[in-house]
C-alpha cells in the first residue's frame, strides 16, 4: 500500500512540477476567475481551493470506528456535533485568522470559538484517557475505516501550500517592508519592550507572557489597548493594505500557474467531502 501510494504521490508531484514549469512563461495569458477583493474578510484568489474538511472528516472517522472499537470492548460513544458551525468573527470562511481594529477592540489578541453546541461533549470525548493498548486498538480500527473512507492525500492541500508561499512572499515585498518600518514608528509609544521588526511577530514574547492567551481565557483591558493600537498602526502605516495587495498578486500568479492541478484536486476534495457528509448523516447520533 505504501509503495503504490508513494508512486502515486511521486507521479503527482512530477505532474504538478511539470505543469508549473510549462506554464511559468505563459501564465500571464491564463484566464482565471477571481473573487472580489475584501480586505476585512481577507478574501483571496486561492480560497476556493482550500480543503477545509478536517473537522468533518475527523468526526466521520470516529463515528465509523464505533462498531470496531465496541467489538474490542471499549465504550466508544461519539457525541453529536454541528459540523457546519462557524468559528465566529475572528475567522474567515477558509479559517484564516482575521485581525483589524474592530476585532482587536472586542477580542484583543484572542480568537473567537466555534459556535458548535456539541463542542463541549466532543472535547470530553477527545480528552478521554487512552492507554497504550487502547491507542493500538484505535490505530487498528482507524486503519480498517480508512479502507472505505480514506483521508485526503496531503497533496490535495496544494491550495494551502501555494497560499503559504504567497504569505511568505508578501512579507518580503518592498512595499510591505517599508510599511513595517512605519508600523514600528507608530508603535513606538505602545510600551512593548521587544517590539518585533514586523507585525507578524505580534504579540511579542513579553506580551505573550504578560497576557493569558489560552483559548479558555478572556482578553484583559491592557491586552485590548495594545492590540487595538497594534491593529490601528497596521492600518495607518499602510501595512495591512500592502500585505493584502502583495499576497493577492502572488496568489493570482500561483493560481494561473497551477489552475489545472488545483481544479483536479478540487474534484477530489468535493468527492471526499460528499462521502464524509454521507457517513456523518448515516452514523451521527441525534441532536440532544
Amino acid at each position: 500500500m505504501i509503495g503504490s501510494r508513494g508512486i502515486a504521490i511521486g507521479a503527482l508531484a512530477l505532474v504538478v512540477a511539470a505543469t508549473m514549469a510549462g506554464c511559468a512563461s505563459s501564465s500571464d495569458q491564463v484566464s482565471v476567475d477571481l473573487p472580489p477583493q475584501n480586505i476585512s474578510q481577507w478574501a483571496m484568489p486561492l480560497d476556493r481551493y482550500m480543503a477545509v474538511t478536517d473537522i468533518a472528516a475527523d468526526y466521520a472517522e470516529n463515528l465509523l470506528m464505533t462498531p470496531c472499537m465496541r467489538n474490542l470492548g471499549y465504550e466508544w460513544v461519539v457525541p453529536w456535533r454541528d459540523i457546519g458551525a462557524d468559528h465566529g468573527p475572528t475567522w474567515n470562511d477558509v479559517d484564516r485568522r482575521l485581525f483589524n481594529a474592530e476585532i482587536a477592540q472586542d477580542w484583543g489578541y484572542h480568537t473567537s470559538s466555534s459556535t458548535d453546541s456539541g463542542l463541549a461533549d466532543w472535547q470530553e470525548f477527545v480528552s478521554q484517557p487512552v492507554s497504550d493498548s487502547m491507542a493500538a486498538d484505535i490505530v487498528t480500527c482507524r486503519t480498517e475505516v480508512r479502507k472505505d473512507l480514506p483521508r485526503l492525500d496531503p497533496s490535495t492541500q496544494l491550495g494551502s501550500g501555494l497560499a503559504a508561499s504567497a504569505f511568505e512572499g508578501a512579507l518580503v515585498d518592498d512595499a510591505v517592508k517599508a510599511a513595517a518600518v512605519q508600523w514600528r514608528e507608530c508603535m513606538g509609544d505602545a510600551g512593548v519592550p521587544d517590539l518585533p521588526a514586523t507585525p507578524s511577530g505580534m504579540p511579542s514574547p513579553s506580551l505573550s507572557s504578560r497576557f493569558d492567551l489560552g483559548p479558555d481565557s478572556e482578553p484583559s483591558v491592557d491586552e485590548i489597548l495594545i492590540a487595538t493600537k497594534d491593529a490601528t498602526c497596521r492600518e495607518s502605516s499602510g501595512y495591512l493594505d500592502a500585505t493584502y495587495q502583495a499576497e493577492w498578486e502572488l496568489q493570482v500568479t500561483a493560481l494561473k500557474q497551477n489552475v489545472d492541478a488545483l481544479n483536479g484536486f478540487a474534484v477530489q476534495v468535493e468527492e471526499n467531502k460528499r462521502a464524509v457528509l454521507k457517513a456523518i448523516s448515516e452514523n451521527a447520533p441525534s441532536r440532544p
Binding site: 504521490i9 478536517d54 473537522i55 475527523d58 480568537t111 497504550d132 492541500q157 501550500g161 505573550s208
Partner: protein, 155 residues
C-alpha cells in the same frame, strides 16, 4: 538445505554468485524505496508518543540525529518560540523540517505564524511528513516556517 549453501566456498565467505545476488536484492530494495518516495527512517517517526503532535528540526523526523529529540504538544501550542526540542537548546520556532500527528482522535493544524496566524497545513491522525522541504505531500514554503500548532478542537 538449499543448493546455494551446499555450493558455498569452504572458507565460509559468500561466493561471487551469492554476493551478486545479495547486492542485486539490496539494489532492488533501495530502488523500490526511492521510487516510493519513502526513506527508511521516514517510514517510522514512531518516537512521537500517542496523543501528541510532534515536530523535529532535521530530516527523517530527527533532531541532532535522534528521533527522541522531538518537541510534542497535546492540545495546542500557540507560540513555538518558547519551546526547544527535547534534549537540545535548539528552538522550535521556524526550524521544523519534520512533523507527525500521533493524536488519537483528530487532525492537527500547523500554522505559519504564532497564535494561529497565516496559512496552515493539516495532518490527519497517524500521518507525518519527515521532509517538509521536498515538495512531496504538502507543497509550499513549510520547511523552517511553522510557528504554532493546534489540534482541531482547540483552534
Amino acid at each position: 538445505m538449499s543448493n546455494s549453501l551446499v555450493t558455498a566456498p569452504r572458507s565460509g565467505w559468500f561466493g561471487p554468485r551469492q554476493v551478486l545476488a545479495i547486492l542485486g536484492t539490496l539494489v532492488l530494495i533501495l530502488v523500490s524505496l526511492l521510487v516510493a518516495g519513502v526513506r527508511p527512517a521516514e517510514a517510522a517517526p514512531g518516537d512521537c508518543p500517542s496523543g501528541k503532535a510532534c515536530l523535529w528540526r532535521d530530516l527523517n523526523c530527527q533532531t541532532a540525529s535522534s528521533g527522541a529529540n522531538y518537541y510534542g504538544f497535546n492540545q495546542y501550542d500557540y507560540n513555538l518560540s518558547q519551546r526547544n526540542y527535547l534534549n537540545t537548546t535548539s528552538n522550535v520556532n521556524d526550524t521544523a523540517t519534520g512533523v507527525r500527528n500521533s493524536g488519537n482522535f483528530e487532525s492537527v493544524r500547523y500554522y505559519k505564524d504564532i497564535f494561529k496566524g497565516g496559512s496552515y497545513i493539516t495532518y490527519a491522525t497517524g500521518t507525518s511528513d519527515c521532509d517538509l522541504g521536498d515538495g512531496v505531500g504538502v507543497t509550499g514554503d513549510w520547511n523552517n516556517s511553522i510557528s504554532s500548532g493546534y489540534f482541531s478542537t482547540y483552534w
